[in-house]
Structure formats: structure tokens, C-alpha cells
């Protein structure tokens, strides 16, 4: 069974996202430890990409800051090695296909397995293109996470049936970033997912408040939050981990 399943054993999962190296890797490490201490069930680590087409302005900004700070793929692997000396919660990478492809897919994915990365989220790899990396993910035991969107409609069952780890349900149209309201009829999408798989399903995109997290977690297995955390880094820089810890606690308490 996938190590990711552990993330869903403590009630509803709270899944925070952070861009590695924003503003530096020491801050990322401190922030991850604060997240874990305050109840995060699974950590989504973003490897920065120059042109993150699925991201809104907040996470785009984090990518730029991280790359300006000199983050390289190898340094992110180093960060994970260091974190794994004491961090045991499941961790996944969120990045773009070209970061994996250019590193050499086999070298990238085998390194993930070796350092304790449990899954890969690649927003520019839809169902039709998953053969690009899936055989290697299977070979090394790294889950390639499937995304389902409000526009997936007739594709939901097909995607859910073959999903590994957990399903990332995109809450609404558009790119990442906070939204005042999420209007998509997500319960009916979750129902189709449930009819097709036992793999847990967490909802992300646009969630920033405890109330939103609770209502999303109520209808699924967990809530994913990115931009709201990245905003704290934008505001507080290297002093952000403390604020991130407080925020994660508030969010996890809300969905428990």
C-alpha cells in the first residue's frame, strides 16, 4: 500500500504546499517542520519552474524568488534528504513535466524513491500523457498523482479507476490562488470518484480560510492549501515558519 495512505489515517487530511527555496532552503526546512508539528498530514513540496502555467500570481512569485535564490533540482533533493532525518509524514513533489524530463526521468524518479518522496504531482501531465512517467513511477514505487477538474465530466471515472496515492480534485476553473467563493458542485464529482476507487480524494485550488477548508474536507478526504501559505512567505520571508505553523494549526483544527 502507498505510504500516502498514512496521511489519511488521522481524520481529514490537511495538505500544505510550499515552494522549495522561497526565499531560501533553510526557511523551507523550518517551515516544513512547523507544518508537521502543527498537524500537517502530507507535505506538498514545489520544485520551482520558470514558467508555471497552472499557477496564479502568488505561486508564480514564489517560483521566481526561489529561482533567483539559486535553487536547483539537486539542492531540493538535498533538502528532502535532510528533512527525512526526522520528518516522517508523507511528502510529494509538485512540479512541471520539464523539470522531471530534463533531469532524466529515471534518474529523477529513482532519486525520489531513494530520498523518501512518496508521490509526484505534475499539472501538465493529464491522463493521456501519463505513460511519459507512469512506468518509471511504478518501477520505483512513487505515486503519480491524478488530477480531476470541474471540467472533467465524462473523464472522472476513467481517471479515478487508475489513480494512485490520492486524487487531487481541483475545486474550480482557473489557476491556483485564493478565491472568495467556490461554487463548483464538488459533492457530485466526489461521488463519481467514490464509485470508481477507494483512493482518497483531497480538494485544492482557492482554499484559504478555515471555513473553506472545513467545507471542502467535509465532502472529501482532505484540503490542500498553497497560495495562502506562500503569501505568508512573501510577507514574512525567513521569519515566516512561525506564522505558517500557526496557520496550519488553525486549518487542521478546523477540519479535524
Amino acid at each position: 500500500m502507498s505510504n500516502i495512505a498514512k496521511a489519511f489515517e488521522n481524520g481529514k487530511a490537511f495538505i500544505p504546499f510550499i515552494t522549495c527555496g522561497d526565499p531560501d532552503l533553510e526557511t523551507t526546512a523550518a517551515a516544513v517542520r512547523e507544518m508537521v508539528k502543527n498537524g500537517a498530514d502530507l507535505i506538498e513540496l514545489g520544485i520551482p519552474f520558470s514558467d508555471p502555467t497552472a499557477e496564479g500570481p502568488v505561486i508564480q512569485g514564489a517560483n521566481i524568488r526561489a529561482l533567483k535564490g539559486g535553487v536547483k533540482t539537486d539542492k531540493v533533493f538535498g533538502l528532502v534528504r535532510e528533512l527525512r532525518t526526522d520528518v516522517t509524514v508523507p511528502m510529494v513533489f509538485m512540479t512541471y513535466a520539464n523539470v522531471v524530463f530534463s533531469y532524466g526521468a529515471e534518474k529523477f524518479i529513482s532519486t525520489c524513491a531513494e530520498i523518501g518522496i512518496d508521490g509526484l504531482i505534475l499539472p501538465d501531465i493529464p491522463f493521456e500523457e501519463k505513460e511519459e512517467f507512469l512506468p518509471l513511477c511504478k518501477k520505483y514505487g512513487v505515486d503519480l498523482i491524478s488530477l480531476i477538474a470541474p471540467t472533467s465530466e465524462n473523464r472522472i471515472g476513467m481517471i479515478a479507476k487508475e489513480a494512485d496515492g490520492f486524487i487531487y480534485l481541483v475545486s474550480s476553473l482557473g489557476v491556483t490562488g485564493e478565491r472568495s467563493e467556490i461554487k463548483t458542485d464538488l459533492s457530485s464529482i466526489v461521488k463519481i470518484i467514490r464509485d470508481n476507487t477507494n483512493v482518497p480524494c483531497a480538494i485544492g485550488f482557492g482554499i484559504s480560510t478555515p471555513e473553506q477548508a472545513k467545507s471542502m474536507a467535509d465532502i472529501s478526504d482532505g484540503a490542500i492549501v498553497g497560495s495562502a501559505i506562500v503569501k505568508l512567505l512573501e510577507q514574512h520571508g525567513t521569519a515566516a515558519p512561525k506564522y505558517i505553523g500557526e496557520y496550519v494549526k488553525k486549518m487542521k483544527d478546523a477540519i479535524k
Binding site: A54, Q60, A97, P126, G174
Partner: protein, 396 residues
């Protein structure tokens, strides 16, 4: 040449967010239906002929030929089309298709502004809403085209992310499409992006090589020895090449923008300096660093200032069917001035890259050889920038 997943050899594909998958599937189904629909084709041909001014002329550049003293040079005058470039061929096709699909809003990216102007034009004609994304850097380089688009009723959104050029305009248009799909068609301007765009755009641009072939047979009774076109994403080049791909005796030559030189970082010559990657929905060659970060490319030409190349070009390169050469800013500017003086035709700075290669190639060939150069657009938009390049203080 494409298979089910829109592959050209190993290139192409559909590397896009799940949110857009049903939109591209719907587009593919609609296109597969309408491309064989006689009514659609009748309407499109009428638009191309009566509105855009097709067929475009194949002009024998006699003075240029004599001056260079080698192969006979013909110019395919896409600059004479309505809106001044080949971009209108694709846009009329896509706008008509979008309308048939029930879409009421067109979004587009633009580099030099030619595709943006063409999209704004088609939107005005067909009564559709239009939003154009343009890198902020390019809105400065091509201020007149920004005004033109606004005059045509389009909203122009300057893009400040990344390098604020064409690649960022594409990223922003993709982001906008994921926000609003039901009433919106993304009118992609080149033979790039996810399947089916490289195929759709190529088919709509293939009219260029269809006409070259007919016109050449009529004028010379034979096929040309070489066809030369500039390549950014590669739409005018694939349009110029497509109907000659099976005619192996016709050399197909794409001219990329070398910027300040392919041995510098200030270049946009993807095939000369890039490597295989996955970006903007496709697998192809991209200018990138060793970590897969997309490189900030440079060219004097806003229309060629793109870090990737269409997947069909990448494939034609792989199999050796087409050649790709790199042309520097200096060479392109010289060709811009040369054609203006020699033939009284002011070419776009993009097209000047193709002309620069023709100027090099023609004297090396004997006088019984024929080369066709596609003049993809007219150069009015570039005059101020070229004047500044030559040290004159002219602003639009």
C-alpha cells in the same frame, strides 16, 4: 503525419492541465467534422479570397536575382494579405470554427502583434469578443499594433510575468483559458501548443504551399529547388513547406532567430541551441538550462522571440527532411534594408530572417535553380525599431 495523440515522431502531444482536456477534445472533434464540411470550406474560402485577398502573389524578384547573380528568386507575398501577414489565414479558419462551435469570445497571444491584430480583425468581422495577451516588452516594441488591436475593439492585456515577451503571453493566454472555457476559444497563433493546435494551424496555413506549387507550375512548369521561410513557432514555415514535404527534391529551409549569435545567451534559435523538453503543451525542442528552466530568449524580432519550436518542425529536423539555419539580428536588418532598396518591398523583420538566408544561398546556386522565399509579413510595424537599431532617434 499525426497519429491519435497528435504526435509528429516523438514530438507533440497534449501536456496540459486536466482542466483543459475536454476543451481540446471538443476542439479536435469539431475540427475533424468541419474540415470535411463543404459549407465550412465554402465559407472559409470566401473569407480568404474576398476578405483577406488570397491567393497571395508569387512575385519574381528580378532585380534581386540579377543583383545576387545566382538562383532565380521568387517571393511569396503573404505581406499583401489583409492585416499584412500570413497570420490571417489561420485566424479566419479558427474564428469560423469557434463560431460554429458556439463560442462568442476569442483570446490570443501575440508577439510582434501580427497575430493579435489578425485575431482582433476576425473578431470584429464575426462579432466576437476579443482579448489579446501581449508581453509588456513587446507592447513597447510594437506600440502601433497595440493601438491597432484596440481600434478593432479588442482588449489588450500587457503581460508582466517572466520575461514579458511571447512565451509569457502564451502562458497567460493558457491561464485565461483555464479560467473561462465554455464561451471562449483560444485562437493560438502558431503551430505549437497541445494537439490539435499544431495540426489545425498547419492545415489553415498550408494554403501558402498549395498556392506556391500551383503558381510555380504555372510560371515555371516545375517545382522550386528550395523553399525558405522564417521560424519562430513556425506557422508560416510549415504553411510554406507542407505541400512540398513529399516532393523530396525540394529543399525546405527554416530560418531561426540567432539574435546576437548562437554562441551568445541572447538568441532565440531553438533548433540550433535548444534541447528536447516538454512545455506549453508539447514535447519539442526548447531553449532551456540544465535544470529544464526555460531560457529567456532574445531576438530583435518580437515574432521570433520564442524559446520553442512547433513539434512538426522538430520532427522534420529529426528526420532530415527540413534544414534549419540561424540568422543574426545584423543579417536580418541588412536583408530588411536590402529588399526595401532593391525591390521596393519593406518586409517584416521576421521575414527578413528568411530573406537574409536567401541572400546567402542564391549566389551559391546556378542560374537554372529556383528558390522561393516566403515574405510572411510587411515591415511597416518594424520601421521605428530598425531606425533605432541604426542609431536614429525615431519613435512611433
Amino acid at each position: 503525419m499525426t497519429n491519435q495523440n497528435g504526435r509528429f515522431g516523438i514530438h507533440g502531444g497534449q501536456y496540459i492541465p486536466e482542466t483543459l482536456m475536454n476543451a481540446v477534445i471538443e476542439l479536435e472533434q469539431a475540427y475533424n467534422f468541419y474540415k470535411n464540411d463543404p459549407e465550412f470550406n465554402r465559407e472559409l474560402t470566401e473569407l480568404l479570397n474576398d476578405y483577406a485577398g488570397r491567393p497571395s502573389r508569387l512575385y519574381y524578384a528580378e532585380k534581386m536575382t540579377k543583383d545576387l547573380g545566382g538562383a532565380k528568386i521568387y517571393l511569396k507575398r503573404e505581406d499583401l494579405n489583409h492585416t499584412g501577414a500570413h497570420k490571417i489565414n489561420n485566424v479566419l479558419g479558427q474564428a469560423l470554427l469557434a463560431k460554429k462551435m458556439g463560442k462568442t469570445r476569442l483570446i490570443a497571444e501575440t508577439g510582434a502583434g501580427q497575430h493579435g491584430v489578425a485575431t482582433a480583425t476576425a473578431a470584429a468581422l464575426m462579432g466576437m469578443e476579443c482579448v489579446v495577451f501581449m508581453g509588456e516588452e513587446d507592447t513597447k516594441r510594437q506600440a502601433l499594433n497595440v493601438y491597432r488591436m484596440r481600434l478593432l475593439g479588442a482588449e489588450v492585456i500587457p503581460v508582466t510575468s517572466g520575461t514579458a515577451t511571447l512565451k509569457d503571453a502564451v502562458s497567460e493566454a493558457m491561464r485565461e483559458w483555464t479560467k473561462r472555457i465554455s464561451d471562449t476559444h483560444y485562437c493560438l497563433g502558431s503551430v505549437m501548443g497541445p494537439h490539435p493546435f499544431p495540426t489545425i494551424v498547419r492545415d489553415f496555413q498550408a494554403v501558402i504551399s498549395k498556392e506556391i506549387k500551383e503558381q510555380m507550375l504555372e510560371k515555371e512548369g516545375r517545382l522550386p529547388d528550395a523553399v525558405i521561410a522564417c521560424v519562430g513557432g513556425g506557422s508560416n514555415a510549415i504553411g510554406s513547406f507542407y505541400n512540398f514535404i513529399e516532393d523530396k527534391e525540394v529543399r525546405l529551409i527554416g530560418c531561426e532567430a540567432a539574435g546576437r549569435g548562437i554562441d551568445t545567451f541572447e538568441t532565440a534559435a531553438t533548433i540550433s541551441t535548444g534541447k528536447l523538453g516538454i512545455f506549453h503543451g508539447m514535447k519539442s525542442y526548447f531553449c532551456q538550462d540544465e535544470d529544464g528552466q526555460i531560457a529567456p530568449v532574445y531576438s530583435i524580432s518580437a515574432g521570433l522571440d520564442y524559446p520553442g519550436v512547433g513539434p512538426e518542425h522538430a520532427h522534420l529536423y529529426d528526420i532530415g527532411r527540413a534544414e534549419y539555419v540561424a540568422i543574426t539580428d545584423d543579417e536580418a536588418v541588412n536583408a530588411f534594408e536590402y529588399l526595401s532598396r532593391t525591390e521596393g518591398i519593406i518586409p517584416a523583420i521576421e521575414s527578413s530572417h528568411a530573406l537574409a538566408h536567401a541572400i546567402k544561398l542564391a549566389p551559391t546556386l546556378s542560374s537554372d535553380k529556383i528558390i522561393v522565399v516566403t515574405v510572411s509579413g510587411r515591415g511597416d510595424k518594424d520601421c521605428a525599431a530598425i531606425a533605432r537599431y541604426r542609431g536614429e532617434d525615431i519613435h512611433e
